[in-house]
Symmetry: C2
């Protein structure tokens, strides 16, 4: 995968929860038997406004984590400190893979992550994106650019954390045409509905989800269905040959689900879930995020708390479901690791 | 994948439900958009005692299916009729891939399918086995032989029909160590428990399962837990680095589950399921098939009828579940097709 000898050199753009968890796993990789042959070195870490590190020989990740935990930023006290923002690091550092870990920006329609990804692909580098924005808003441009410049663009961590949704569809469902995808894909709204089933008001439920630490930096992205719409755009583009943007996905807010509606569903032995759907309609793909009342026998009705589930309806294999239960940050970080393994196989 | 030009040449050993369904899909493959680039020709079809066909230019599958449906066997009226049994066909025909579709033989510990697979691998050919026996009873020998002679040995259809269990683990879970696998993997016993929940006696429930067409030719293989034990052996060998045989798996018969026990579980808001488990224990892997009372919140408790589910517990990704709902024979046939695509990628 790399032209030079030695480890695959990673540039991490973003050092939030997922970035730090990934760095922690890489720092301790001797304790994971399956990671023995993952030969990588982090040569750069950039952040939005918390400083940056760079070292072509590889950053000491344990020291970087300790320093960041102590000061909340990278400063000149770090031996690898560098005056670099992400855009400049993408353009000038010598790396093999940009790992895009910056937060999703709905209002900015995926920027500046799109620019980071574009910059790396233009230099012929590979990109592993845990940020959904570039795949949701710039699918056609970026996949075409990757193909033209010979870099890979991978994104396993964008939907259902690191669960192997995209590698599954690439390898395990080959030959099938996916007619329909449905799922429960947003943790925050699922936690909110669970709290409301137990009697909480919507405000209490949102507060509970925030205490649980599952709400995005911008809660509206979850509550108004944007996070789910962005995920549906990625799934439609990657798995159903669409070029769908999040704005084209119909959205219903979880705030529209009343306590009465939840209680009435419960009285009928049913549950309200925020269901994400993609369906072929003529030559295009229709996406919807909406509150649906499901019978308890529907597996989607059984997704609890921060769990998630996707059901694929295909023409040969039939109906196949993948689910994740109680994921933690390591699950998302694993999505990046899965993509690094995929690059090594390519 | 093939040394010669032209389509990949398949020898089908077995023409039961799965073999005929596979042949039907291949005969109609123009109607599946995803199969457009699956370039295969069936050059031989053998059966245990219902005749055989062979034609190096490719058998007319639609005609073969019609003829078999009419007469229940292949006879001299077929233009491609051949006086061949499977062992001889494996040894003398010119094919690229042996597709092993003969029925599982528990009492014979996987024979004669093991001999067929060995014969093909010794000739350096690839093998796609939908028969679990060779993987359960001869894992070490056959994987070593495949590696030594340069043939591939694939087996996606052996567990959970054609759902991508093994390709998932090979591609999507790479880097994880699987600590534990649990699942509901046998349709017959799951249908039986469902019937008993609705008030049927065990005999009535078995009869209902037989009417539903889900019981293996030898019902004891399902009822006594052998089918599940064989599947656990395949999973342990392929995914957990074990060399486990079905005899080493602890088995409990569904016949040991009484109506009273099912009713008592129901009264507690729980369900009895035949749960299959693999667990690392010291340097080896322990396998068990047993009736367990599960809370309704456990996804395994929600597997209905002929559905199935596997839960993987891993060290990095955490807990990940795959499930199949209402599979038909095409789902199993798809397992073979998935392996043919995998061979084409190799």
């Amino acid at each position: 995968m790399t032209a030079h000898a030695g480890p695959t050199r990673l540039l991490l753009a973003g050092f939030g929860n997922v970035g730090r968890t990934l760095a922690g796993i890489l720092a301790r990789r001797a304790s994971y038997p399956g990671l023995a042959d993952l030969d990588v070195a982090v040569v750069g870490i950039t952040t939005g406004s918390h400083g940056a590190l760079a070292d072509g020989r590889g950053i000491d990740l344990a020291a970087a984590l300790t320093s960041f935990a102590t000061r909340g930023r990278f400063g000149p006290e770090c031996p690898e400190f560098a005056a670099l923002d992400t855009a400049r690091a993408v353009a000038v550092l010598d790396y093999d893979v940009l790992v895009e870990l910056s937060p999703l920006a709905v209002a900015a329609r995926g920027e500046p992550a799109i620019a980071h990804v574009r910059g790396a692909l233009e230099r012929g580098r590979h990109v592993v994106s845990a940020n959904k924005g570039p795949l949701a808003w710039a699918w056609g441009e970026l996949t075409e650019l990757a193909a033209r410049r010979g870099g890979a663009l991978l994104y396993e961590a964008t939907v259902m954390d690191g669960a192997p949704v995209f590698s599954l569809a690439r390898h395990g469902l080959q030959g099938n045409t996916i007619a329909r995808i449905e799922g429960v894909l947003n943790s925050t709204t699922n936690v909110i509905l669970g709290e409301m089933e137990r009697g909480a008001s919507i405000d209490e439920a949102v507060a509970a989800a925030q205490r649980a630490g599952v709400v995005e930096a911008d809660p509206a992205a979850d509550i108004e269905g944007w996070d789910a719409a962005v995920k549906l755009a990625v799934l439609a583009n990657a798995l159903m040959g669409a070029e769908l943007t999040p704005e084209q996905v119909e959205r219903e807010s979880v705030a529209a689900v009343t306590a009465d509606r939840i209680a009435a569903a419960g009285a009928r032995g049913r549950r309200i879930k925020m269901v994400c759907e993609l369906e072929r309609a003529g030559g295009s793909v229709r996406g919807r995020v909406r509150a649906l009342e499901l019978p308890l026998g529907d597996a989607l009705a059984q997704v609890e708390g921060t769990g998630s589930m996707i059901r694929f309806v295909t023409d040969i294999l039939g109906t196949f479901t993948v689910a994740e239960e109680r994921p933690d940050l390591a699950a998302t970080a694993y999505g990046v690791i899965a993509d690094l393994f995929a690059l090594n196989r390519a």
